[in-house]
């Protein structure tokens, strides 16, 4: 019954969810699929337009764009998802602790969060990559640090509300330790909005990671990556437009699906808009 409701009310969200599952499946099982070699140079076949042998054409090294897109999704998705998970975990904790303890801990955490919020995600990422050198870890740390304050602010505002509830007082009266109260009682009430935002942030993180790769400040070659493919597309824009079009479509669909899924999740989880099932 829930499924039918989803189909009727949020068909686009179901489509996005299905797309993401397909994309994740392709990323995880890329090795098992009958794909061309994504990193083998094949100069005789360079700049082939899309056709039978190369579905999305080939690039300047003769590499098949289709298989590079699928293999490229691996590092992009891995970095985006891991960094957002990291940032969300950290942010949720910081926000809840800041709200529950209050006092000077709250003040200090808030100032740090304010400071971090002053860094746009791309600027912060460029900066950290310059400091730590271009690598997957630097990009992950950068994005996690950018996501953390947003989630922290969200979880703090939720925790501030939940903190005043009677059951928190009851828990304290029965002798629960602050840690237990935070984890066992406050956390479940902050998860819903955090999950909504986190899903959206995976899309943003994906775009940020691709932007970094585009600028050659992301994961270094030869691993295929959507951003780097878009850079090649830029260089050969008129000669081989398929180099720009297809990786961009892949990136857009994936990022958009995450963002839209987050939006839909908010409508599903928000008790005010929930239909009685």
């Amino acid at each position: 019954m829930k499924f039918k409701w989803l189909v009727r009310k949020k068909p686009l969200a179901l489509v996005c969810g299905a797309m993401l599952m397909i994309i994740l499946f392709l990323a995880i099982f890329a090795d098992l699929l009958p794909l061309q070699n994504p990193v083998a140079h094949n100069i005789p076949s360079q700049f082939e337009s899309p056709g039978h042998e190369f579905f999305f054409g080939t690039d300047n090294f003769g590499q098949d764009v289709f298989s590079r897109i699928i293999y490229g999704s691996r590092s992009s998705l891995y970095i985006a998802i891991t960094s957002v998970v990291l940032g969300t975990l950290l942010g949720t904790l910081v926000g809840m602790i800041s709200a529950y303890w209050g006092g000077w801990i709250d003040l200090v955490f808030q100032r740090v969060v304010d400071m971090l919020l002053g860094f746009p995600i791309l600027v912060l990422a460029v900066f950290i990559v310059v400091a730590l050198g271009p690598s997957a870890h630097a990009v992950m740390i950068a994005i996690a640090v950018a996501v953390m304050p947003q989630i922290a602010r969200l979880s703090r505002s939720r925790a501030l509300v939940v903190k005043e509830e009677t059951f928190i007082l009851a828990a304290r009266a029965t002798g629960a330790s602050p840690l237990r109260i935070v984890l066992r009682h406050i956390l479940p009430h902050t998860i819903s909005p955090v999950l909504v935002y986190a899903t959206g942030y995976v899309g943003t993180a994906l775009i940020a990671e691709s932007a970094l790769s585009f600028l050659h400040l992301g994961v270094p070659p030869p691993d295929p990556s959507w951003g780097a493919m878009l850079y090649d597309g830029w260089i050969y824009l008129e000669a081989a437009p398929w180099l720009t079009i297809f990786p961009g479509i892949a990136l857009s669909i994936t990022a958009f699906s995450f963002v839209f899924l987050g939006d839909a999740l908010r409508d599903v989880l928000d008790p005010r808009t929930r239909v009685h099932l």
Partner: protein, 322 residues
């Protein structure tokens, strides 16, 4: 009013201080030594110990970190902006003076265009709630933040080259030098940035107006016989303005991030492209200074937005509410 202003200013200063410390220390945790990395050009060129030591002395790297930080902070504050660029050999001050107007133009045009476009669109979507105008507006704004703007830029360039045989001018001209060239160079990035920036503004405007229109005083105004447009513009908008102003500030950081990459693609010699070129060339002083300047700009805009919010919202006052 003064109390609040003072409190916010001191908060801004403290946050800026924290940010500068963070930027400075992260640059210092480089695994290698800055002088060595610069001299060796990333490990390719050999250099002698004397040259290395001389460079360290010249850059003051042998002093304590606190002293180095103090010196750097002072140069940021008094307009030197951190010394010399390694890449260009010019004072960073010159670079900033040259690149700031470009980024400023881009940003100002985007904000102006976004305001012109988003607020009416948001009001339209709110008034025609759940009708086709609403859906169209929501459809148009949904991808604004979810799609990679640099890819859309490339697609636009591709389309323009193939369909109209046109590509933007290469040499940057200021507004006062050649208006048409200036317009051609900036129109595409401004449109792209506006799409992203206004997406949020439209949605917040719509939600805010929808909320405000439910209020009782709106019903009273209608009962009094005021026309819909009068109600919307004179009464609802004033109250609805507050969240709109807030989101303007919140999205400003995202806007600056967007200018970074679009300047790079469209070849605009602004702070964003300057930062990227410096990052690629490992020009540490420039990266350090530019990042700090950008952060300062964003935090200041947030402060200004907060003050405007307080002034605009009839429900808030400048009473010290700590």
């Amino acid at each position: 009013m003064n109390n609040y202003l003072l409190w916010r200013l001191s908060t801004l200063l403290f946050t800026m201080f924290l940010a500068s410390v963070a930027v400075f220390s992260i640059m210092r945790i480089l695994p290698g030594d800055i002088a060595a990395l610069t001299l060796s050009g990333g490990g390719e060129v050999a250099y002698s110990i004397e040259v290395w030591e001389a460079l360290r002395e010249e850059w003051g790297l042998n002093d304590s970190l606190i002293l180095q930080y103090g010196r750097w902070l002072w140069s940021m504050v008094n307009g030197d902006f951190g010394g010399q660029s390694l890449l260009y050999g010019q004072p960073i001050q010159t670079l900033v003076a040259r690149q700031l107007p470009v980024t400023l133009s881009l940003t100002l045009y985007t904000v102006a265009l976004s305001l012109l476009v988003s607020v009416p669109l948001g009001i339209l979507a709110a008034l025609k709630w759940n009708r086709w105008q609403d859906y169209m507006v929501r459809l148009a704004t949904l991808p604004g933040q979810a799609l990679p703007n640099f890819w859309i830029a490339l697609l636009l360039l591709l389309g323009l080259v193939f369909c109209f045989r046109w590509s933007p001018p290469i040499i940057y001209t200021h507004l006062w030098e050649n208006l048409w060239n200036h317009f051609q160079m900036l129109i595409l990035p401004v449109l792209l940035l506006t799409w992203g920036y206004s997406s949020h503004i439209v949605r917040v405007t719509r939600a805010s107006i929808l909320d405000t229109m439910q209020e009782d005083y709106i019903r009273t105004a209608r009962a009094k016989g005021l026309s819909e447009s009068q109600i919307t513009i004179k009464h609802a908008l004033r109250t609805a303005l507050a969240p709109i102003v807030t989101v303007l500030g919140l999205q400003f950081g995202v806007l600056l991030g967007g200018t970074l990459i679009l300047e790079y693609i469209f070849g605009l010699p602004g702070l964003g492209r300057g930062l990227i070129q410096a990052a690629l060339a490992r020009d540490y002083p420039v990266v350090q200074s530019f990042v700090t300047l950008l952060v300062f700009a964003i935090l200041s805009v947030n402060l200004i937005v907060d003050l405007i919010y307080r002034a605009v919202d009839p429900r808030t006052s400048f009473v010290d509410d700590k």
